[in-house]
C-alpha cells in the first residue's frame, strides 16, 4: 500500500505547501502534518532514501568515515544559528541538503522538509539532511528516523510552561540513550549537556571555551543531584561534583579574542591545529555556536579552512543580531526567547557608546510561551545604571505593559518608559526618537512583524553598531 500512499502523501503535501505559501503563509509544517495523516510512515520512508554522499572534499586526508546522512541540532538556545552555519558549510561543496526552515523544528516541519526535497520521480534530492529539532520533539523524531550526528547546544530555562529545563534535558537524555549509534557533539560547558556522554554513544565530542560558561545555570549535578561546585582554577565556568562528575576536556576549545563589530576567537583542536574564527555578527554566545558548527564540520570531514571562510561570510538569520541602518543610525534586531538568551543578548549593548533607544517586545502567544515570569530572571537592572546611555525604552507586544513594570522595578525611570501596544507604531516611534543606536529585542511572535516594518523603513545591513560616533 505504501506504493500508492507514499507518493500520494508526498504530492498532496507538496500541494498543500504550495497553496499555503501562495496565500501568504510560511507553509513549513502544514505539508508534513497533512502527509502524515495520509501515510504515517512518510518520514521514515523518505529519510531512508537519502543518498549517501559520493564526494567529500577531504577524502584524501583519510578522515574517519563520518559521512553522516542525517545531522540534527537540538538544545535550548543556538539551534537555528548552528544549523544555519552548518548549512553554509555543506552548501560550499554544493551538495544538496534536506533542510527544515526555522520554526519548523517539530515532527511536521521535519517531515515537510523531506517532502520539499522529493523530485518528480520520487527521488529524495539530498546527500545530507540538516535538521533543527525542538528538544521535546526529539524522541518522536528519533523513533522514526536514524540520526547520524546529534549536536546538543545547551539546556536552560525556556518556556517553562511547556517543560522545565530539567525535563528537557531528561527527554533528550532518554531519547539518546535508546540510540547509542548516534554520534554526539556536546557543549562541555553546560553540565546538563555534557552529561549526555554518560549514555555511552558510539562516539562523542566536546566543544567549550577557555573560560567556561560565565553563568552556569545548572546548579545541581545531573548525575547525583548534589550541588555543583562552580568556578575554580581561575576558570569561572569550570564545574565539578564530589561524585566525580567534572567538566570534560573539550576536543575543540575556543579562546575569545577581542574584535570590534564581530565575534573572534582562536579555536584549538586536541590534535594541536589552531584556527582563527571570525564571525561578522555580535553576541558572545556565538563563540559556542561557532564552536559547535566547526567541531561538527570536523567530524564530517569538512575542510577547516573553508569553514573559516564560511564563518567569515556568515549572514545572520532573521533577528539574530540582524543589522539595519536608518538615516545613518545603526539598528539591531535580536530575537530573545528566554532568560539566558536575553541576558547574553543584552551584553551587546556594553561596547556601544552614545545613547541607545531600546525597543523591548514581549508577547505570550503559544509560540512565545504563556508564562512571562522569566523576564524577572534577566538582569535589566544594569540598564538603569546609566540613564544617559539608556534613556528611552519602548515596550510593546501582548505583554508590553508587563515589560514596562519589569523595567520600573529594575530602577529605570518611569518617564523614560513608553508602552505602545501596536508593534508597528512602536518601531516607528523607536526610529524617530533621538539617539545614536536603536536596538530591538523581540519575542518570537513579534519578530516578523517588527522586521517587516524595519525592512520597509530602513536599509538592511549597516555600519557596525559600536563603530558609531562616540559622544566624548
Amino acid at each position: 500500500m505504501s506504493v500508492i500512499r507514499l507518493p500520494l502523501a508526498v504530492w498532496i503535501g507538496k500541494l498543500v505547501g504550495w497553496v499555503s505559501r501562495v496565500s501568504g503563509h510560511k507553509g513549513s509544517s502544514l505539508p508534513g502534518m497533512v502527509a502524515r495523516k495520509i501515510y504515517p510512515r512518510v518520514l521514515t520512508d523518505l529519510a531512508a532514501r537519502l543518498r549517501r554522499p559520493r564526494l567529500l572534499y577531504r577524502e584524501d586526508q583519510g578522515h574517519r568515515n563520518t559521512a553522516g546522512k542525517i545531522i540534527a541540532v537540538t538544545g535550548t538556545n543556538g539551534k537555528t544559528t548552528v544549523t544555519h552555519m552548518l548549512y553554509d558549510f555543506l552548501k560550499m561543496s554544493s551538495q544538496k541538503i534536506v533542510y527544515n526552515q526555522e520554526g519548523a523544528n517539530m515532527i511536521n516541519g521535519v517531515t515537510a522538509a523531506f517532502i520539499a526535497s522529493v523530485g518528480f520521480f520520487g527521488k529524495v534530492f539530498g546527500e545530507f539532511a540538516l535538521l533543527e529539532i525542538d528538544e521535546g520533539s526529539l524522541p518522536s523524531i528519533m523513533d522514526e528516523i536514524t540520526l547520524d550526528i546529534l549536536v546538543v547546544t545547551n539546556f536552560s530555562s525556556d518556556q517553562e510552561d511547556r517543560f522545565s529545563m530539567a525535563s528537557a534535558a531528561e527527554v533528550v537524555r532518554e531519547a539518546v540513550a535508546r540510540e547509542p549509534s548516534v554520534w554526539l557533539v556536546l557543549n562541555a560547558d553546560d553540565p546538563n549537556t555534557a552529561v549526555l556522554a554518560d549514555t555511552m554513544p558510539q562516539q562523542y565530542f566536546f566543544y567549550g571555551t577557555t573560560a567556561g560558561s560565565p553563568s552556569v545555570e545548572a546548579r545541581f549535578c545531573p548525575r547525583c543531584a548534589k550541588k555543583l561546585l562552580v568556578g575554580f582554577d581561575g576558570c569561572p565556568g569550570k564545574y565539578a561534583c564530589s561524585c566525580g562528575f567534572v567538566r570534560p576536556e573539550p576536543d575543540l576549545i575556543v579562546e575569545p579574542v577581542s574584535g570590534s563589530g564581530e565575534v573572534c576567537c582562536r579555536a584549538r583542536l586536541t590534535t594541536g591545529q589552531e584556527y582563527m574564527l571570525r564571525l561578522p555578527v555580535l553576541g558572545a554566545f556565538n563563540y559556542y555556536n561557532m564552536a559547535a558548527a566547526f567541531l561538527t564540520g570536523i567530524c564530517l570531514g569538512l575542510d577547516p579552512e573553508r569553514m573559516v571562510i564560511g564563518l567569515r561570510n556568515y549572514a545572520t538569520s532573521p533577528g539574530r543580531m540582524e543589522r539595519f541602518s536608518h538615516m545613518g543610525k545603526p539598528v539591531l534586531l535580536n530575537l530573545v526567547k528566554n532568560a539566558r538568551g536575553y541576558s547574553e543578548a543584552l551584553s551587546v549593548l556594553d561596547p556601544m557608546i552614545g545613547s541607545v533607544v531600546l525597543l523591548l517586545a514581549l508577547s505570550d502567544t503559544a509560540a512565545d510561551g504563556c508564562d512571562v515570569s522569566w523576564i524577572w530572571d534577566v538582569n535589566f537592572e544594569r540598564l538603569s545604571l546609566d540613564p544617559n546611555k539608556f534613556g528611552c525604552f519602548i515596550c510593546t507586544g501582548t505583554r508590553g505593559a508587563e515589560m514596562a513594570v519589569r523595567l520600573k522595578y529594575a530602577g529605570v525611570l518611569e518617564q523614560n518608559v513608553h508602552v505602545i501596544d501596536n508593534t508597528s507604531d512602536a518601531v516607528l516611534a523607536a526610529l524617530e526618537k533621538p539617539g545614536t543606536h536603536v536596538v530591538l529585542f523581540s519575542a518570537y511572535s513579534t519578530l516578523m512583524p517588527l522586521r517587516k516594518v524595519l525592512l520597509s523603513k530602513t536599509k538592511l545591513g549597516g555600519p557596525h553598531a559600536e563603530n558609531m560616533l562616540s559622544l566624548s
Binding site: 517553562e160 529545563m165 530539567a166 546548579r219 543531584a225 508564562d371 524577572w376 505593559a401 513594570v405 518611569e414
Partner: protein, 240 residues
C-alpha cells in the same frame, strides 16, 4: 529599618522569584523607608525573630530537597516567628513545603515542614496557565492575576483560609476553586512572581510588617498606573 529575608537566592534563582523580592524592596525605597535585603543560603545563620518579611520562592525538585534539609532544623524558630505575626510570602514549591506532608503518587506520606495546616498531593496533572483570583483586602474584593505551573496540588484543612477564590484558572487543586492560603501574616500561593503587577498585595505585606514594628513611618501612596495597566491586560483577557 525593614529587614527582608530572601531565602536561597542561589538555588531558587529562576522562575521569576526576583520579581517578588524586587517588588517588596522597591516599594520601600520609593517611600524612603529604610530597607535591608538579607540573602540567606543553605547553612547561613539567620534569626527569624529579628526579620520582618521572609520570602521563600519556587524552584526545581532538586532545589526543594536542599531547601527542606536546610529549613527543617530551623522550623521551630520559624514556627514561633509565624505565630508572632512575622510576614512571609511563600510561592510555588516554597509554598508547598510549608504544609504538613506531601502525598506521593503511590500514596506514601513524605514530611514537609509542618508549619501550616494543609497537605499536598503530587500528581500527574499539571495545573498550568494564567490565574485570576478574588482576594479580600480591607473589606473589598481585589483582583489578583498571576501564572501557575504545578503538579503538586494543595488541600487545605478545614480552618485554613485561602489566599483568594478562583475567578480564572485552577488554583490549589483544580477542584475547590480556591488558590493559595492565608494564615496570620503568612501568604502562600502557587503562582510565581505574583507581586510586581499586584501592588496592593505587596503593600499589604509591607503594611503588615510595618505594623508589627509599630513603625511611625507614614505609608505613602505610590503611582501604580503602570502596574494597573499590566494587570488590566490580563483581567480584560481572562474575565471579559
Amino acid at each position: 529599618m525593614l529587614k527582608i529575608c530572601y531565602l536561597y537566592p542561589d538555588i531558587l534563582n529562576q522562575h521569576g522569584n526576583w520579581g517578588n523580592v524586587a517588588a517588596l524592596l522597591k516599594r520601600c525605597v520609593w517611600r524612603k523607608i529604610d530597607v535591608d535585603l538579607i540573602k540567606i543560603n543553605p547553612g547561613d545563620p539567620v534569626d527569624f525573630a529579628k526579620v520582618d518579611i521572609v520570602y521563600l520562592g519556587t524552584g526545581s525538585e532538586q532545589a526543594r530537597k536542599a531547601v527542606f534539609d536546610d529549613l527543617m532544623p530551623r522550623r521551630d524558630i520559624l514556627q514561633t516567628a509565624i505565630e508572632q505575626g512575622m510576614v512571609m510570602l511563600a510561592a510555588g514549591s516554597g509554598c508547598h513545603l510549608l504544609g504538613m506532608y506531601r502525598l506521593t503518587e503511590e500514596g506514601h506520606r513524605v514530611s514537609s515542614l509542618g508549619l501550616i495546616s494543609f497537605y499536598t498531593r503530587l500528581t500527574n496533572t499539571f495545573l498550568v496557565g494564567d490565574c485570576v483570583i478574588g482576594m479580600q483586602l480591607a473589606g473589598n474584593e481585589v483582583r489578583i492575576a498571576g501564572f501557575e505551573n504545578h503538579r503538586e496540588h494543595v488541600v487545605r484543612s478545614e480552618g485554613l483560609a485561602p489566599l483568594g477564590n478562583i475567578l480564572y484558572g485552577h488554583g490549589n487543586n483544580g477542584k475547590d476553586k480556591t488558590e493559595g492560603f492565608r494564615y496570620k501574616n503568612v501568604f502562600g500561593t502557587n503562582m510565581a512572581s505574583l507581586l510586581p503587577k499586584n501592588p496592593m498585595l505587596t503593600d499589604l505585606l509591607l503594611g503588615a510588617a510595618l505594623q508589627n514594628k509599630k513603625s511611625p513611618v507614614k505609608f505613602t501612596t505610590l503611582d501604580n498606573s503602570l502596574e494597573e495597566r499590566a494587570l488590566d491586560v490580563m483581567l480584560k483577557r481572562l474575565l471579559d
